[in-house]
């Protein structure tokens, strides 16, 4: 479970035009459930995702992660809640790698290299055994029906395929939480339905899902356990 209390993120503080993207948000995201953040663009959904996903640090407020595996930090024992808001970047990154898998709106694949390499890329800094990572990547890609593109350059993939590569990449470190930012923005309805079906499989496998979307296919889906609506950086409904 992820717990946010009174989280604020301000950009350009102290300058003439400070901008508060997330304003005093308190929220609980239950483990093993699908939580959808909905709201118009600019409502602070994506910023909130980056704060939860250890990509950025809030200006104030606290974020606690529960149920992290022991050893994530040297002092952390099983069952402790970890307060992540004042951790240095290298610890945030270490937690992010193990805990969160990200699916980006723009897919964010590295151009010019193969599908397989793209999927393995997150594991490079961890120094895991190369052969083992490769086997795992091929398995993920196989599950997503991408085996025939294994060595193709990502530049040649269709939108749906590119997203599935991004999903395989998000899964490579076997994260407990999957975060998706407007995942259906570039997909047609049929592919969007396929995507939600895939999310259903992940939920069934026990993963926690956190999705931002203003697509009714996503926030209206029966999979969505919690729907939180945001506007102007604040929560207006749900939670």
């Amino acid at each position: 479970m992820i717990e946010l209390s009174r989280v604020v993120k301000t950009y350009q503080a102290g300058l003439a035009t400070p901008f508060t993207a997330v304003d005093d948000v308190s929220l609980r995201i239950p483990a093993g459930k699908v939580t959808v953040l909905k709201g118009p663009s600019g409502s602070g959904k994506t910023t909130l995702l980056t704060l939860i996903g250890c990509m950025a640090r809030p200006t104030s407020g606290r974020i606690h992660l529960h149920g992290l595996p022991a050893g994530t930090l040297p002092q952390l024992t099983e069952g402790d809640a970890l307060e992540i808001t004042s951790l240095p970047e290298r610890f945030l990154t270490a937690i992010r790698r193990r805990t969160f898998g990200f699916i980006f709106q723009q897919f964010n694949l590295v151009r010019g290299i193969s599908v397989l390499e793209n999927v393995m890329l997150p594991t490079y800094p961890t120094g895991e055994d190369h052969a083992w990572v490769e086997a795992r990547a091929i398995e993920r890609l196989g599950e997503l029906g991408l085996l025939r593109h294994l060595h193709a350059s990502v530049d040649r993939l269709s939108g749906g395929e590119a997203q599935r590569v991004a999903i395989a990449r998000a899964l490579i470190n076997e994260p407990a939480v999957i975060i998706a930012d407007e995942p259906t923005a570039h997909l047609d309805s049929r592919l969007s339905e396929d995507f939600m079906e895939l999310m259903g499989q992940f939920k069934a496998a026990g993963k926690t899902l956190l999705i931002t979307s203003h697509d009714p296919i996503v926030h209206g889906s029966p999979l969505a356990d919690v729907v939180v609506e945001m506007r102007d950086g604040r929560i207006v409904a749900g939670s």
């Binding site: 980056t50 120094g127 895991e128 190369h130």
Partner: protein
């Protein structure tokens, strides 16, 4: 493999593939870099080769030469002084030497004429160096004519000196002492200078002091001094050229800085993606460090190799015009390779260090892109 080692390897692999993906841009950088290394390396190698030639030249020189100075100018020396000098303690041998320069108007160059006591050399015949034989177009058995004090003198060429000693003997004509005397009109009791050998080279300064004490007009010159002077002059010349070239180094650094700061949008986006999928700033720094090392190493090796070929196979032909007037010696037609770790280290310092330092801040800037930048775009 240990994870930390595997991490280095993974990131190195990715650095190589990144470099290859941006071939055009990196190729331009490597070309300019290689050129800078090449120019400075050529210069350093060339100076080093000249220093080495000078040292070789002096191997055969006597430990000490005593000249006579009259009114601040070099003057022939009374042979009788040799006896007095031989009496000084520590002196092993004193050899009066007869030599001089002969200007040849036909081919417009100076020749070194020297007397030899070698009895194999008959009167009115000479041994000549390769350079002399080449420029006068003569071979063994031919006759040459030299303008002596008392009119033209004819010599038969008994031998052309072997090639190995070309550096030392290229411009040399050896003849018997009496021929040298009649060529230059030197009277019997005079020599050009005296060559002094000491039993223990460490005593040479003391001996020199005693000679000056006895003959105030004598100027003793130690071999070590000549060597020192040559070294200093060559180092000075080489350094001077490096200073001149520093403008090239400087503009290269600016170029490198510019390349590094002007990370393309594509590259910036890529770093953003890497950070967003779990790379840390330190990982990106390592990636950029590998990229820089590969570029530096390639350019350094390439530049050194090209310079080596240039200097030792083509006798620094690109510098010929700038360096021709410089040489105190007659350089060989092909310089002998003289290369050591020190020269390479100096070259490394002069080229790779500035490049590395210039790219540190831009690299850090690239590496500390916010991980969420990739999401906000």
């Amino acid at each position: 493999m240990r994870p930390s080692v595997q991490r280095y390897r993974n990131i190195l692999d990715f650095a190589l593939s990144s470099l290859l993906r941006r071939k055009g841009r990196n190729l331009a950088l490597i070309c300019v870099y290689t050129l800078v290394v090449f120019v400075i390396a050529s210069l350093i190698f060339f100076v080093q080769a000249l220093k080495r030639e000078a040292r070789e030249l002096l191997v055969q020189a006597p430990d000490m030469v005593v000249q006579r100075m009259v009114a601040g100018r070099h003057d022939p020396m009374p042979v009788a002084q040799a006896e007095t000098i031989r009496a000084i303690r520590g002196v092993e041998a004193v050899q009066p030497r007869l030599w001089g320069y002969y200007y040849d108007p036909v081919y417009g160059g100076n020749l070194t004429v020297m007397a030899t006591d070698d009895t194999a050399l008959a009167v009115e015949s000479v041994w000549v160096g390769q350079g002399v034989a080449r420029s006068m177009r003569v071979k063994e058995g031919d006759m040459i004519s030299l303008r002596g004090y008392a009119g033209p003198m004819l010599f038969s060429i008994q031998k052309v000196l072997p090639e190995e000693s070309e550096l030392v003997s290229s411009d040399l004509i050896l003849m018997s002492p009496q021929d040298v005397r009649s060529l230059f009109n030197l009277s019997e009791g005079l020599a050009t200078d005296l060559a002094v050998q000491a039993g223990n080279p460490r005593e040479l300064p003391t001996i020199a002091a005693k000679i000056v004490e006895q003959f105030p007009d004598a100027r003793p010159i130690l071999k070590s001094e000549i060597l020192r002077t040559y070294e200093a002059i060559f180092d000075w010349r080489g350094g001077l050229m490096v200073v001149v070239l520093s403008s090239a180094i400087l503009s290269f650094i600016i170029f490198a800085w510019d390349k590094a700061t002007g990370l393309s949008a594509e590259e910036r986006k890529e770093v953003g993606i890497l950070k967003s999928i779990g790379w840390e700033s330190a990982d990106v720094l390592l990636l950029k460090f590998w990229e820089g090392s590969v570029v530096s190493l390639t350019a350094f090796l390439g530049g050194v190799l090209l310079a080596y070929v240039h200097v030792f196979f083509f006798s620094a032909s690109l510098f010929e015009h700038a360096l021709k007037g410089w040489s105190v010696l007659f350089p060989r037609y092909r310089l002998l390779p003289a290369l050591d770790g020190y020269q390479l280290a100096v070259l490394f310092f002069l080229t790779v260090l500035p490049y590395t330092a210039a790219t540190l801040v831009p690299i850090w800037r690239a590496a500390t892109v916010d991980p969420d930048a990739a999401m906000r775009s």
